[in-house]
């Protein structure tokens, strides 16, 4: 059975989409069959790979998920596009109800065809994120090396713990990734120390430096590996990919 990584953090702009897109691309390039699932109404993961958002979201429609999954320019990487109207689900769904059950049933239809599924979430702890957590096997949390990074974490960790209990331990805490890492800044060193003290081994050794190639690649509809394969951003996500594969 595949590993389902839920990329979450309610703090905005920490690198959730950048991580979901580039890690799934790295996994596909290393030969894993990967599916990227866009559950953010902003649809940034979808457009990052040069694809179009759909009108309604496939996860809440009755058709088979396979009909809505599209290929990307990267071999072994498929995408389930996001939908801008998906935030309606946030209001309707609560993690225990029929909506999220339907999403889990949909995911179960396709899971066996992929080694990895990565879910990109919106910046919130609302129903969409909780539904995504309930459908996942591990949490991948990007943390930006900034002061606000540690602020709202307690709330998020409580939500994750709640889901871990509700799913009888099917969801585990996969890993924490430090992003926009600049070792010359004192703030980066402080966040690094605090996060590693608090979370220990689940923090990845790999860190993602601030690299303009990572913010330019989406405007070309490409992952960083196609846009700037020798960049520091590409190297960082390759290292992360190796670590994720080792942690199986």
């Amino acid at each position: 059975v595949g590993r389902i990584l839920c990329v979450v953090n309610q703090k905005g702009g920490v690198g959730k989409t950048t991580t979901a897109v580039n890690l799934s691309a790295a996994l596909a390039l290393s030969g894993q069959r990967a599916l990227l699932l866009d559950m953010d109404p902003q649809c940034n993961a979808t457009t990052s790979l040069g694809c179009e958002p759909t009108v309604g979201h496939a996860l809440i429609s009755n058709s088979n998920l396979n009909e809505n999954i599209v290929d990307t320019d990267i071999e072994h990487l498929s995408l389930l596009p996001g939908s801008r109207t998906f935030h309606d689900v946030d209001k309707m769904a609560s993690p225990g109800d029929e909506e999220s059950q339907q999403i889990r049933t949909h995911l179960d239809e396709v899971i066996d065809e992929y080694d990895f599924v990565l879910i990109d979430c919106p910046p919130s702890v609302g129903a969409l994120t909780q539904t995504a957590l309930t459908a996942s096997t591990e949490v991948l949390m990007p943390i930006q090396c900034e002061y606000f990074a540690m602020e709202g974490l307690t709330q998020l960790i409580q939500t994750i713990k709640k889901v871990i209990v509700a799913t009888d331990g099917r969801l585990t805490f996969g890993g924490i990734l430090l992003t926009m890492y600049d070792p010359t800044l004192e703030l980066t060193r402080e966040v690094d120390e605090e996060v590693r003290d608090f979370f220990g081994d689940i923090v990845f050794d790999s860190v993602v430096p601030r690299d303009v190639s990572l913010s330019e690649a989406p405007s070309h509809g490409q992952s960083v590996f196609q846009y700037a394969p020798r960049s520091r951003g590409a190297y960082a996500y390759t290292q992360l990919c190796m670590e994720v594969l080792q942690r199986d």
Copy 2:
């Protein structure tokens, strides 16, 4: 009557809190009586000024707002702290119902005592943001100079238009602020051109450059004016303050 600025953008990490905190500080330093209202469950605006979040949010309690408003280290700047449990309101409230009516009534109690009220919103177009928009007189939208900046704007603009109609024009489109502006990057020049072509005069002439002082100041519980008064970040928010005062 005072001006109520709602600082919104559902894209995360674009500089909403940094703008709400430092613009309200600049307005207070220029002699205006300013109130900063934290409606984000992350409570970043509250901790940026060295204050503590409250357990329940004052806007949805029955006590008088004045009892919950606190002073800050900056003369003429008051704060209504945020609450980490406030995201419950997001699920409960819908912009037309009793909850948001209560929030408007609360705001009406104190508005006359301030020249400016700035509301910091979470990264979403949900009920909290719509309630904040309904209570405001103008929208202030920070836009980060990155590719995703223009992506979800249509959704947000539709929401704003809906509220403008619902409030009979009480809400106006106050201004757009370009943040994390780096003129050496092509991406910044592209976003700058696209935003000014699309929105015209409502885009402020002042832009906020990327400046590490802006991300360090919150860890000292200070605005950029106390932490690094001669920094580029302090200069940029002073310029913005002058423009906001001129636009009355």
